[in-house]
């Protein structure tokens, strides 16, 4: 619902955010904190999680169905809060959608270029994100940098097992980041929305000098810019809502999701997907 008040346009329609599972909740949490008046709808595709090990064509199919659902919910803006879906599906989704849609890769890349002094940037992510070379391309569109990539397929299951603060996690993190440290990176992009939960273990093993880029904050800045430029901010007097939808296992989502959202999640609805 768009209302014109004097010189200002307000729009109380929600922002739609989606991911294959829980990870995107770290992005939703950042948006919720920075833009506390906005209504937010989250969709976690828990029937098909994880996207990171699946093919480009199938991630596009899943993403198209989710965006259709969000459009039916009358969202005013969509955030693809999943790196694999941002890499594979965002260019396709942009072509057909009439509302603004953004991913996490471009904002994360911008923030990394801005932070790096020696222009040696590391990127960690799922197999899908790394194989797509999206960060590499996006970073080099902004500025000529050396980008070193590392797929880390074990980090998501480790986080979901709740072992973020365990010596096993330390050993796995060490093993994955060693080739990046050997290249003397000064900035590391967390190219998966699950990874903010591993910040402590990563920083401990990288040392304090290496800057971690969590795309959740960078994406939130971009969301704010779009709302501002297109006059889409919500009315501060209206009642705010947060809604959560999944394609499988709403009870598990409620339980595990709260760790990612940093707040208790109360109500989760299950939606049957056709693909």
């Amino acid at each position: 619902m768009r209302i014109k008040t004097k010189n200002k346009t307000i729009n109380n329609n929600p922002i739609g955010i989606f991911d294959s599972g829980f990870g995107g909740l770290t992005v939703m949490s950042a948006i919720n904190e920075a833009l506390p008046l906005e209504n937010l709808i989250y969709f976690g595709d828990t029937a098909h999680v994880p996207y990171g090990s699946k093919s480009k064509s199938i991630v596009i199919r899943y993403s198209e169905e989710i965006t259709s659902f969000l459009v039916k919910c009358k969202v005013k803006l969509i955030v693809v809060a999943c790196n694999t879906a941002s890499a594979f599906a965002l260019p396709i989704l942009k072509r057909t959608l009439k509302i603004p849609i953004i991913g996490v890769i471009k904002p994360g890349s911008k923030a990394a270029v801005f932070a790096s002094k020696n222009k040696k940037i590391g990127v960690i992510g799922t197999e899908g994100t790394i194989d797509s070379r999206s960060y590499l391309q996006e970073i080099n569109k902004i500025c000529r940098c050396k980008v070193y990539q590392q797929a880390c397929p074990l980090l998501v299951p480790l986080i979901e097992e709740g072992w973020d603060d365990d010596e096993v996690t330390d050993s796995i993190v060490k093993k994955y980041i060693k080739p990046l440290l050997d290249k003397q990176i000064d900035t590391l992009v967390l190219g998966c929305t699950h990874y903010p939960l591993l910040k402590k273990a990563l920083q401990k093993n990288l040392g304090e000098k290496i800057i971690l880029i969590d795309s959740a904050n960078a994406t939130t800045y971009e969301v704010r810019d779009i709302l501002n430029n297109k006059c889409l901010f919500a009315d501060p007097r209206s009642k705010k809502f947060l809604k959560f939808y999944v394609s499988d296992n709403p009870d598990k989502f409620k339980m595990i999701g709260s760790r990612f959202f940093s707040k208790k999640i109360f109500d989760v609805k299950k939606i049957k997907m056709t693909c």
Copy 2:
């Protein structure tokens, strides 16, 4: 095709085997070795992998669609080569199918009871298999035993990462099996068809005295019994075939699947699932 020759009936139709991904190939490999004349069709549901962390209702939906596909391929027998699907979907599938169908849980349970002397049996598996308590119930149908269960969500991704023989794997295995060793089990059921690839690491950390039950062999005995009792053996003079189907990423399946099948996989076809 069923042909009566003198006193013997032969049936050259294939045996259908399915799993959420690669794990069931360990079962297919055992069947292929023990019954080298049989034609085999494998379906890996790589569009929805893993099943272990998903809900009962969705695993049933996926399993129903796969069995329909296998029935269309005119299979004479179906093997649910996935513990989670055996736990969740097998009872439902049995009700509607006109051909014999077996899972891996009953054969694995029988083998465990047969092997255990002190009747203290450990079971490791995915969250879905463990939460279903299927091994516990199946073992106790045969004989009163103490059954100790442990969900090990990290083992499948570790195996798929190819870290079967790594010190990180050793630490994770140690952590998972400690509570079972504390209960003085003498037999451990590998309640996931991926786990045979971890036999070395498991045996090393369990000690030589504890017996590992790999349901692939136990399931193969049951397949042979059914073919024998129902006169369904293939004609030894006919040309044998092995076929592989997946719902996503056939190239990745060819590459990773060969480790599970212990033989090179050449041709993999992709089938679009409707659910």
